[in-house]
């Protein structure tokens, strides 16, 4: 069975009939006629025989991977952020923000390419920008650079601000399980003011596996 998590920038694919690890490919490189058996994400209904919505996939993936009865799981994608909160084994809160979380992951990746930065080598700053969205936050960077901050420092404050915003969106938990490509970004992960457990970018695929 071919499972797919169609992201805005990257697609995660898993063929359950082979032992191969999940594959990540850029969305723009996906074949035009590509069809999955079961999928979630962007245009999943059009590109698969059966689809489930992303919050459901995230929650089921969290149940499968985390296993506990109380947890908050936040997924930071290219275009949006979403979370589920479980208490005593029940989903008690969830959120999906495609507006104020807009283009967060996408902007963070774009900035690294534009300024040629390695997020693994940037320390978490003591303060960050107060921002709610990637697009609007860009102007903070330009203002800060004009007023004398280095590009690296300005971007670090931006990333910290984005992480803090995502943290508040998820309800400011003491422990946060993180899903999505940003798990690989040490500056982003280190900017959360709580204990973060990174689950990587295949949580939604795990949710699809659990939904089969």
């Amino acid at each position: 069975m071919l499972l797919a998590d169609f992201g805005t920038s990257y697609c995660k694919l898993l063929d359950t009939e082979t032992d191969r690890a999940p594959e990540v490919i850029a969305t723009r490189d996906l074949e035009v006629g590509f069809m999955a058996d079961l999928a979630t994400g962007h245009n999943a209904a059009r590109r698969s025989k059966q689809s489930i919505n992303e919050l459901t996939a995230l929650a089921r993936g969290g149940e499968k991977i985390i296993g506990g009865k109380d947890f908050v799981l936040l997924d930071c994608g290219s275009r949006d952020i979403k979370f589920v909160r479980y208490a005593e084994g029940r989903v008690v809160d969830m959120g999906w923000n495609a507006e104020c979380g807009a283009s967060m992951g996408f902007t963070i990746e774009l900035l690294a390419k534009y300024y040629d930065l390695d997020y693994g080598e940037i320390a978490v700053p003591d303060t960050g920008f107060s921002i709610t969205c990637g697009v609007l936050g860009m102007s903070n960077i330009f203002d800060a650079v004009i007023s004398g901050l280095s590009e690296t420092e300005a971007v670090a404050k931006f990333v910290r601000g984005i992480a803090r915003n995502a943290y508040r969106f998820a309800g400011s938990p003491e422990r946060l399980y993180l899903s999505g490509g940003l798990c690989d970004n040490p500056l982003f992960v280190g900017s959360f003011p709580c204990n973060v457990i990174s689950l990587g970018r295949f949580v939604l695929l795990a949710g699809l596996q659990a939904s089969r």
Partner: protein, 248 residues
């Protein structure tokens, strides 16, 4: 010629009875009645304002009414009170402000029956135009709850199961007691419930509060239309809460 009267909110039963006696044509201005862009109201109301009341102003601009009854008391909201000032300034017709404090319950059969939620909501809002309640259908066992006001975008109601019970101000509407805060605050803790409010409405505070108290409540606010993330939240909420409920 038949008199054309607009109503906003739920004017007192005595007013509705009188309108029926006068055989006027009643328009519920809270609901979309004309095909025109809400942006046309921008010269009268801020764009960041309750979409239901922006709809009221849009309707009032187009419907050639003879007069309007607008409820502005505890059965509606301060936003409506301020819209009444705008309507008075905008239109050359009588704008009658009412403060509905009716407390005699008319019953809530539609809120508790088995029926697509969209049809249920349409029946409840249509009932506002009638002075006397109809004898309603039988109650069903609830598996889900919708708490709140009738949304500006009824399409989100299609995501609920037919066995959804209706709570909040919509229940007060059917009961013809719009100022009954106790009834408005009543919820059933045993069914997963979506606590809905229009964005920029004071009821968002009560919706959020009740959702936080509820063992399985989801807070949701929407403006003019329910976007894909709002729809996905409702879908996932019911999918996940039902499977968990049945396991318990």
């Amino acid at each position: 010629m038949t008199e054309r009267v607009g109503i906003v909110g739920i004017p007192p039963r005595s007013v509705i009875t009188d309108l029926h006696r006068r055989r006027v044509l009643i328009f519920d201005l809270d609901e979309p009645q004309v095909r025109a862009s809400l942006d046309l109201t921008a010269s009268h109301l801020p764009r960041v304002y309750c979409a239901v009341l922006r709809t009221v102003v849009l309707n009032a601009m187009h419907l050639h009414l003879d007069c309007i009854y607008i409820d502005v008391g505890p059965g509606k909201c301060d936003c409506a009170l301020h819209v009444s000032t705008i309507l008075k300034n905008m239109l050359d017709i009588p704008i009658h402000c009412t403060r509905n404090q009716d407390m005699e319950g008319a019953g809530i059969p539609l809120c508790r029956t088995r029926m697509p939620l969209l049809a249920k909501m349409t029946g409840i809002t249509a009932g506002v135009l009638e002075p006397e309640p109809e004898k309603g259908p039988a109650a069903c066992r609830p598996t889900a709850g919708f708490w709140g006001v009738p949304p500006r975008d009824f399409s989100l109601l299609t995501l609920f199961p037919d066995t959804t019970h209706v709570y909040g101000w919509t229940r007060c509407m059917e009961n013809k007691t719009p100022a009954d805060l106790e009834l408005e605050s009543y919820v059933n803790p045993n069914v997963p419930t979506v606590f809905f409010a229009q964005s920029f409405c004071a009821k968002t505070a009560l919706a959020k509060f009740l959702a936080d108290q509820h063992p399985q409540g989801l807070y949701l606010d929407c403006d003019v239309t329910a976007g894909s993330s709002a729809r996905a939240k409702i879908e996932a909420f019911f999918e996940l809460s039902h499977s968990l409920f049945s396991e318990k």
